[in-house]
C-alpha cells in the first residue's frame, strides 16, 4: 500500500538508532549485569508480543476499513433468523479474542513476576556493601567494611569487581533522587528519611554511566554516576590505594597548592584525608585524580576541565553548590598541580 514506504523508512531509521543504543554506556538494551539482562529479556519479550498484537490489530483494522461492501440484501420482515449464523460467528470471534487477550496478559504477567523474583534474589549473595547518599547534585559513595578503618569514601564513582554482587544502600539528604545504572539494573529511589537497598552485579568489564532518574532540582540533568567494572584483582588494588590518605605534595607548586587549598574556601566544603580538610558539604577529594569524571559526570576528568570547573563552576553547572571561589591565576595553577597529584 501507499502507506508502506514511509513505514519502511521509519523502520530503517529506528534500526540505526537501535544499533547505537545496543552498545551504549548508558543503555538498558546493552545489559552488562544479571538484573539488566533479565529486564532486557523481558523487554524484548514484551516488545515482540505486543508488536505482534499491534500488527495484528492494525492489519484487521485495515482489512475492516478497506473490505468491499457485501452485495445482497436482507429480505424485509426476516431480519433476525437470517443473521443468526453471523451473530454466532461474531460471538465466537469475540470470545476467542477475549480469551486470547487474557491469556497473553496473564502470560506476560507471569514472566514479569518471574523476572521480578529473579532480580531480587541476589541479596543474600552480596559480598560488598556500598552506601550511596545522594545530595543535590552529586553522589557520595562509601565503601563499608566490618573493620571501621578499612572503609573509605569517594564520590560520583563506583568501582565493582566483575561477577561479584554488590549491595547498594541508598540514602538521600535533601530531596528524592533515583539511582539508575541502565546497563546493570532498574531504578531505585533514594528518599530522605528512609534507607533503600538494591543489589547490582556486573557480568563483564567495562565502564557504564548511571543517572539520577528522579527530578531533583536545577541540575538533575547533570547528576550522573560512573560505574566501572574491573577484574577482582584490579578492584582489590584500587581499594587499597583508596584507603590510603592523600598523597603528600612533592614539588613546590603542589605544596603551595595545598596551602592555598587549606586557607581558602576549598577547606570549607571538601575532605582531603591526611590534611585538616574534613568537611562533608562537597565530594571527598582525597583521590580525585583517579576518577573518570568531574562534577557528577558533567565533564571528563582532565587538568583543563578541572581548571575550568574550579574557575567558574556556575557557567558549567549553574545552580550547583560549588561557588565561584575567586582564586587568582597563580593560586589556581598551584591548586591544580596539587589536586592533579592526588592519585
Amino acid at each position: 500500500m501507499r502507506a508502506r514506504a514511509p513505514m519502511a523508512l521509519l523502520c530503517i531509521g529506528g534500526l540505526a538508532g537501535c544499533e547505537r543504543v545496543r552498545h551504549g554506556v548508558q543503555s538498558a538494551l546493552d545489559p552488562a549485569g544479571h538484573q539488566a539482562g533479565r529486564i532486557a529479556d523481558l523487554w524484548w519479550l514484551f516488545l515482540a508480543v505486543l508488536a505482534a498484537v499491534y500488527a495484528l490489530v492494525l492489519i484487521l483494522l485495515l482489512v475492516a476499513a478497506f473490505r468491499p461492501r457485501r452485495r445482497g440484501r436482507v429480505p424485509v420482515g426476516s431480519a433476525f433468523p437470517q443473521e443468526a449464523p453471523t451473530e454466532r460467528r461474531l460471538t465466537r470471534v469475540l470470545v476467542a479474542w477475549a480469551v486470547g487477550t487474557t491469556a497473553i496478559i496473564l502470560t506476560l504477567t507471569g514472566f514479569s513476576y518471574a523476572v521480578d523474583r529473579d532480580i531480587l534474589s541476589l541479596g543474600h549473595r552480596a559480598e560488598l556493601t556500598v552506601e550511596i547518599t545522594a545530595k543535590q547534585w552529586w553522589w557520595q559513595v562509601k565503601y563499608d567494611d566490618p573493620v571501621p578503618n578499612r572503609s573509605f569514601e569517594t564520590a560520583n564513582e563506583i568501582r565493582l569487581p566483575v561477577g561479584v554482587p554488590v549491595r547498594v544502600i541508598l540514602k538521600a539528604q535533601d530531596v528524592i533522587h533515583s539511582f539508575w545504572v541502565p546497563n546493570l539494573h532498574g531504578k531505585t529511589d533514594l528518599i530522605p528519611g528512609r534507607v533503600n537497598e538494591t543489589v547490582i552485579v556486573a557480568n563483564r568489564e567495562g565502564r557504564f554511566r548511571g543517572q539520577c532518574a528522579e527530578f531533583c532540582g536545577f541540575q538533575h540533568a547533570n547528576m550522573a554516576l560512573d560505574v566501572v567494572a574491573v577484574p577482582r584483582a584490579e578492584f582489590d588494588a584500587w581499594r587499597e590505594s583508596q584507603l590510603a590518605p592523600a598523597v603528600a605534595p612533592s614539588d613546590e607548586q603542589s605544596q603551595e597548592g595545598q596551602r592555598v587549598f587549606l586557607t581558602s574556601a576549598c577547606v570549607m566544603c571538601h575532605t582531603i584525608r591526611g590534611t585538616t580538610a574534613a568537611s562533608r558539604v562537597g565530594p571527598d577529594l582525597t583521590h580525585i585524580a583517579t576518577r573518570p569524571s568531574l562534577a557528577a559526570g558533567t565533564l571528563p576528568y582532565s587538568k583543563g576541565n578541572l581548571a575550568g570547573w574550579i574557575a567558574d563552576p556556575q557557567r558549567i553547572k549553574p545552580g550547583s553548590q560549588m561557588p565561584v571561589t575567586g582564586l587568582s591565576a597563580d593560586q589556581l595553577q598551584s591548586v591544580l598541580a596539587y589536586l592533579d597529584g592526588l592519585k
Binding site: P192, F218, T263, S264, A265, V267, M268, C269, S279, V281, Q314, R315, P318, G319, S320, P323, V324, T325, G326
Partner: protein, 188 residues
Amino acid sequence: MSSPCRRAVSLLLFAAFALAACDREDREPRGAPVGESGPGATVQGTLYAGEPTPPDPRRQEYEGNAYHISQGKQLYVWFNCGTCHANGGGDIGPPLMDDVWIYGDSLENIFATIVQGRPNGMPSFRNKIPETQIWEIAAYVRSMSGQTPTAASPGRNDSLNAKPAEQRTPKAEPKNSNPGGPGVEGRQ
C-alpha cells in the same frame, strides 16, 4: 464591563501577578564577580556626623529573594553557624532571633561581622566563604528575627521543629535604630 474588556483586564492582572512573583524566585547563581561585592562602609553606631550614610542598595537584591534566603539557610547549617548560634536561640554565640545586636543588625553589618570576625570569639570567614554566599547567609540571619519579607522567608523545617518558621517569626526590630540604619546595642 463587556466581555472582551473583562478578558483584557483579567489578562493584565494575571500578567501583573506573574511578574511580581518573578523577583521572589529570581535566581542569580553566579552572583557578582568576586571583589566587587564587599559592603559599603558599615556603621557601628547610631550617631552620625552630619547626615546618615545611605544603606547599601544590594540589600533589596538579597533580602527580598526567596532563593537567596533559602540558600543562606542551607549554608548556615553547612558552615557550622548553627553549632554556635543554634537555630537563632544562641549557644556559644549570642542569639540571632532576638532584637539585641552587638555589632549591628543591617545586612551590611552582618556581612561585615561574618567577614571580619569579632574580638570575643566570632571567627573570621574572609576568603573562606565567597561573598555571594555571605550575603545569602546574612539575609537568612535577618530572616531569623523576622526582618525579611514574609513571602521570601523560609517555611517550616522538615527536621526537628525547634522554633516557629522564619515566615511566622514576629519582627524583632532593634528599638534604637535610625530609619535605614543599623540597630546596634554596644555595651549596655
